[in-house]
C-alpha cells in the first residue's frame, strides 16, 4: 500500500537560514507527489507537485523540491526561511486506483526563530 513518511515531526530554524523538510514515500509505480502548507486554523495550500519530467520542481513562496527515485524521497527546500513560513507542512502522494485521492504524511511543524 502507498504510504508517506515525514521523519521530522518538528523542526526549528532561524530566520534567513536554509530549510529542508524530508519526505519518503512508498509506491510501486511512478509516484505523483505533492507538498502542502497549512497555517494554524487554515486550509491546505498546494506548494508544488511532481508528476513527471524535471526532478527539481519549483513551487510558490520560493520553495522547491527534488524527486529522487533511488532514495524514494521528495524533500522540500527553501534557501532562506522567513518568519511567515512557520506552519505545518504535509507531503502527499497519489494513492492507487486512479481516483486522485491523496495519501498524506504525518506532517512537519516548522518553527522559525527570529
Amino acid at each position: 500500500a502507498q504510504s508517506v513518511t515525514q521523519p521530522d515531526i518538528h523542526i526549528t530554524v532561524s530566520e534567513g537560514a536554509s530549510l529542508e523538510l524530508r519526505c519518503n514515500y512508498s509506491y510501486g509505480a511512478t509516484p505523483y507527489l505533492f507538498w502542502y502548507v497549512q497555517s494554524p486554523g487554515q486550509g491546505l495550500q498546494l506548494l508544488l507537485k511532481y508528476f513527471s519530467g524535471d526532478t527539481l520542481v519549483q513551487g510558490i513562496k520560493g520553495f522547491e523540491a527534488e524527486f529522487k527515485r533511488s532514495q524514494s524521497s521528495f524533500n522540500l527546500r527553501k534557501p532562506s526561511v522567513h518568519w511567515s513560513d512557520a506552519a505545518e507542512y504535509f507531503c502527499a502522494v497519489y494513492g492507487s486506483g486512479n481516483t486522485g485521492k491523496l495519501i498524506f504524511g504525518q506532517g512537519t511543524t516548522l518553527q522559525v526563530k527570529p
Binding site: 495550500q45 507537485k49 494513492g95 481516483t99 485521492k101 498524506f104 506532517g107
Partner: protein
C-alpha cells in the same frame, strides 16, 4: 484565481444529530473529495466522487456518511448521527485532489 469554498467554517452539534457540510468545488473540475483531519493528526481521505457517484471510499466512510452533488455546483457531506469521534476538520477538494477548501471545523458535544 478560482477556489474551493466550504460552509460553514465551524459547526457545533450534539451527539446523534445529523450535519451537512457544504462545498463548492472549482467549476470545471470533475473529481471531488472529502478528507478529514482530527486535531493534531494527519489528513485522511474519506471519499472521492466522479460522474455523480462514489469512485472510492475509505474504511472511515461507513454507513453514517453520505455524499451528494445536489446541483451543478454544490458537493455535500452528510453525517447521519454524529459521534464524539467525528469531531475534526473536514476538507473538500477538487481537481484530482489538488485544490483544497478552507475546511469546516466540526465539533460534536
Amino acid at each position: 484565481e478560482p477556489e474551493v469554498t466550504q460552509t460553514p467554517s465551524h459547526q457545533v452539534t450534539q451527539m446523534g444529530q445529523e450535519v451537512i457540510l457544504r462545498c463548492v468545488p472549482i467549476s470545471n473540475h470533475l473529481y471531488f473529495y472529502w478528507y478529514r483531519q482530527i486535531l493534531g493528526q494527519k489528513v485522511e481521505f474519506l471519499v472521492s466522487f466522479y460522474n455523480n457517484e462514489i469512485s472510492e471510499k475509505s474504511e472511515i466512510f461507513d454507513d453514517q456518511f453520505s455524499v451528494e452533488r445536489p446541483d451543478g455546483s454544490n458537493f455535500t457531506l452528510k453525517i447521519r448521527s454524529t459521534k464524539l469521534e467525528d469531531s475534526a476538520m473536514y476538507f473538500c477538494a477538487s481537481g484530482e485532489g489538488q485544490y483544497f477548501g478552507p475546511g469546516t471545523r466540526l465539533t460534536v458535544t
